[in-house]
Symmetry: C2
Subunit: 198 residues, 2 copies
């Protein structure tokens, strides 16, 4: 018999995948338990707050994984635009690999559950903020001044989120590629502009 921590892990993984693909309300306890391969009772053992707690934890973990991706790309890439392009390409690949089911790990739940659940809203809000801060830090490190970096980070994240939504709806990654090309050009000219100033 696998240790109890394994069943907690499997439930979190199943939750992240199902919530990402179809949102909070379409995902029933039975589906979570079936995909997580855990007995139904273990749900409330591991997550006394039930589905709401499971969702908030899954969103927090999913946000952390994207943050790691962003940081790894930032460390490996020669400039900010290349790092952002790498992350967008990885998201596009994931979208295609899952038959256009897996878009942004937070967006489906942010839209269908944040209004009714404070813990879920907080987890999604913190996730988005952490990504924005990481993008702003990346832009700032590559020469964009602090205030324009914060605004450009919001625009970058918004365009990626919208690109994921349109690509998913179209079942075609083209919108995401167009967003990538736009952001690469904007970020490159933003860094160049800042560097030209004294």
């Amino acid at each position: 018999m696998p240790p109890r921590t394994d069943s907690r892990r499997r439930m979190l993984d199943a939750a992240a995948e199902l919530f990402r693909a179809q949102g909070y309300h379409a995902t029933g306890l039975n589906q979570l338990v079936a995909q997580g391969g855990a007995p139904k009772g273990s749900m409330y053992f591991h997550f006394p707050g039930g589905k709401e707690q499971l969702a908030a934890e899954a969103m927090r973990e999913a946000a952390g994984r994207v943050l790691e991706q962003l940081r790894a790309a930032a460390q490996g890439a020669p400039d900010a635009a290349t790092a952002i392009a790498l992350v967008i390409d990885a998201l596009a690949d994931e979208l295609v690999a899952t038959g256009f089911r897996s878009g942004c790990p937070l967006a489906s739940v942010a839209l269908d559950a944040s209004a009714q659940s404070e813990p879920i809203a907080a987890a999604c809000g913190e996730g988005y903020r952490s990504w924005r801060d990481a993008i702003a830090a990346l832009l700032h490190r590559h020469g964009v001044a602090e205030e324009p970096a914060a605004a450009l980070a919001t625009v970058t994240l918004a365009a990626i989120e919208g690109g994921l939504l349109l690509a998913r709806t179209d079942r075609d990654v083209r919108p995401l590629r167009q967003v990538r090309d736009h952001l690469v050009s904007v970020i490159n000219s933003g860094s160049a502009e800042s560097k030209e100033r004294p």
Copy 2:
């Protein structure tokens, strides 16, 4: 007793509002019937395809209303950037007026129901395409060449969608304002660039 068409109308309006705020799956038949002020039986009388048909029709109508907004802004504004800014400001006002419940009329349903329902996916996909085409036509009319206009229209729509999502999650319209300022500057320089060419 009000005519039957009124109860159909009220159900569509209730559906558009509820689906926009909380997605497809969180919205139960009872809530639709209660908010639409119609007897439960009338749902299947007006919409033999049930909730799925109601959602597809509500999405189609909601997309049509945004398209009208886009066209009205395009007719009234002196240039493309001003028209886009007008539409974004109207969306931001609506978000604030509804306590950050009403973001994009399609996004919640596109994310939580498109994967399982062909008619709903088609309605959302057509809606997004119609907005993109209208934005591309607007940009082209104001001097952007056809191919860059199509790409810039996708980026514009993606940034607005992402801006709505972030503003809703933040309960703050700032992300949407930052998206607006970015798009105004990009569209203005795009139009100027195209006009400089022979």
